[in-house]
Symmetry: C2
Subunit: 425 residues, 2 copies
């Protein structure tokens, strides 16, 4: 098929008319489909239902370092849970702090702690005047939300197929002491599904920040969330940092939100002893401890890290056909038209689509009118502003698979219509 | 028995010698007893074990306003849980926000929110320079910890048998705009077990603060935690506030920590629409939502508020004999000596003992050497400083009842020894 750019006006008009016909047909169906957020679907949730039966009448509530998980205490979480997360992230259990049901909450609290207490002997961030954070784009809207909430200026850094553009990261971080951190989703990044290359991880671990209190927020949300038979691997940043004596430079986050239940999982932080000590200066006032029964429930259900990995194969079995359907549909409907590019990730929760510049908002609007809710255009950029108005995050996990197929067909129609509208202007 | 003050030196010395003999006998037993924290004991925890079986293979995860409790979403908590807490606190469910497992965490986050965002159109607290909080004393050490963490100066107000001294509260609050709030445990206060009188609640609800952004932190931790057959009743502060059009003046907190499991309960805030809107400006960045499965588990287990009340009767059956043993022992061992006073609460988790001035630290030290851990002397005052060195918080709930009896006997010996040591100086 010819690219749209190479077609004459009449051909474009004809194409738009045909598409508008299909579009009106879809609209008439009064659909209500949602590809907005990275929510597991019902089929995935069902995989973990037995965790709810993990605790029985015979359960012993005593664990390695907790006399009774039902009671108060154990600020850092039970040892069994710290060990399990440690295995997932490749760090010792002494470097793991297990929290509540939300890694986002732990990231928020970590930034709050830096704002209020600071680190590395520097003043608290909220006493340092104007400070900044680097935000690889496109990225995760909730990361940007946290920095925006705390009034931290966000500076964008472009993503490349191997991670953030490290030339830019190194240049900015080493020259500007007001840059206090960077958000990273190093494996199967949100939304592109990019895994940082070994070189990228090594360059992160070798950063020479102008700010002593610079911190990498390493959100390893999709550490074991493969959807392909050729999964990506991510270098262990703690190992690399240790080689350079820089293990204080990172906070790593993860959770079981997309392993067991999004609303009722367990989240954790991995960090150096210094960093954990700083965080605990705040946590010790904030709470007596997080829900150890839910930690215990998870531990009993999984038994060990092999149990977690086996469980992830079940998610993969559900997700692989969905992601294939999404990328196959994009390929079939849009390839060769010169109006869109997309990723084909080996894991994670999203497919990132770059539509023709200036068309993302229009695509989202057209979809919405036809009953398909997408993540808002711009959401993958700080302040919701995509300078090219081009990136759209597609989340294939939540709708039933039949609906996903219809939603993707509508999406492709809308991507084409928006491009045609623009070319015909 | 004669008061110690009326005895001559020789009689005092003789008494001290006798007591020292008993004390050494206790010491020789190498005991390890703990009356430090208000932790429910194993017998109480067992009462709630069936909540762990509340969710079964047949459980429907869909609730009134939540399509699937396992998934993301529902920032304010499921409607069923909001209604249940609303009944407990006497407010509409629309005024309830249900959180994670810790009301302390919700109080911490509320203060953080006021620091960062402020309220009532005033500047955030952290932009107002030096600010203060009123702290009725003796009070709850973790309340004081939160204010101390945020650098808020604490001003003490004496407790009376009807609540904080309201003459002082009114005078300070109406004259000093740097006073931004007050900590209250209005029912079965920690540590004295005092319930605020109707007049006290009405005076709180009629406060005319100099600071528009003044807030009452109403920690209703023991709302339904009776231990006597003549329980106290607390006036509903929201009703009183509404009469005065001042419903923005309070944040009320509660949890099921001492109803089901301390480490795995559910906490909630009740607040006016304005206040909830302010809190949600922060929560919406902090988390996608709290553990709805644990909310659902609680709802299934209790069914309704009558179920909660019936459940509390089981706690009462465990606690009543323990509190009786504590106050009976105090009565038997210390009454008439003129060296100690104590409360006899109708509910809550503590008995507050005022020993002879200047003796609290020594009592705690003597107890510790004999293997009985008490809450640190001074802990019931801001900055850990009891000006009279007199108040000790006794927590009768945690140790097995046999151990409690021994611990109380040792405690009374130590109270007497410390008084004698002082009188003999």
């Amino acid at each position: 098929m010819a690219t749209y750019a190479s077609m004459d006006k009449n051909a474009l008009k004809e194409e738009l008319e045909t598409l508008s016909g299909s579009y009106e047909n879809y609209k008439a169906q009064g659909l209500s489909l949602n590809m907005a957020r990275g929510k597991p679907g019902a089929e995935q949730l069902n995989i973990s239902n037995d965790i709810l039966l993990a605790i029985t009448k015979d359960t012993n509530f005593k664990t390695a370092d907790c006399p009774d998980c039902r009671n108060y205490g154990g600020l850092e979480g039970i040892e069994e849970a710290r060990r399990l997360f440690g295995e997932m992230l490749g760090v010792d259990k002494k470097n793991v702090f297990v929290g509540g049901n939300s890694s986002l909450n732990m990231m928020f609290d970590t930034i709050a702690c830096m704002m209020e207490l600071g680190n590395s002997g520097e003043k608290p961030w909220n006493q340092q005047g104007h400070i900044k954070f680097l935000c690889p784009v496109p990225g995760y809207d909730r990361h940007f939300g946290v920095t925006e909430y705390f009034g931290i200026e966000m500076v964008t850094v472009p993503m490349t197929p191997t991670g953030p553009d490290m030339d830019i990261v190194e240049q900015l971080v080493s020259s500007d002491a007001s840059i206090k951190g960077i958000w990273c989703t190093p494996k199967y990044s949100n939304p592109q599904g990019i895994t940082y290359s070994d070189e990228t991880v090594r360059r992160f671990a070798a950063l020479e920040p102008a700010a002593k209190d610079f911190r990498i927020m390493w959100d390893n949300a999709y550490a074991i969330h493969d959807i392909s038979d050729t999964p990506d691997t991510l270098l262990n940043i703690f190992d690399e940092l240790q080689k350079n004596g820089k293990e204080d430079m990172v906070f790593e986050f993860c959770s079981t939100s997309k392993i067991t239940f999004p609303g009722a999982g367990v989240a954790a932080i991995a960090a150096s002893e210094n960093n954990l000590n700083t965080l605990k200066k705040r946590y010790t006032y904030q709470t007596i401890g997080y829900d150890k029964m839910n930690m215990l429930r998870h531990f009993i259900f999984f038994k060990d890290f092999d149990g977690v990995l086996a469980h992830m194969q079940k998610h993969k079995a559900v997700l692989q056909p969905r992601f294939n359907m999404v990328t196959d549909t994009l390929e079939r409907e849009l390839s060769g038209l010169g109006i869109a590019e997309w990723t084909k990730p080996n894991g994670g929760y999203f497919v990132s689509v770059d539509v023709m510049e200036g068309c993302a908002k229009r695509v989202v609007e057209l979809c919405k009118e036809a009953g398909v809710v997408l993540t808002g255009a711009g959401a993958t950029f700080p302040y919701g502003k995509d300078p090219k108005d081009s990136n759209i995050r597609v989340a294939p996990t939540y709708p039933p698979i039949g609906e996903l197929q219809i939603a993707m067909s509508i999406f492709c129609v809308c991507v084409k219509m928006a491009a045609l509208e623009k070319l015909l202007k």
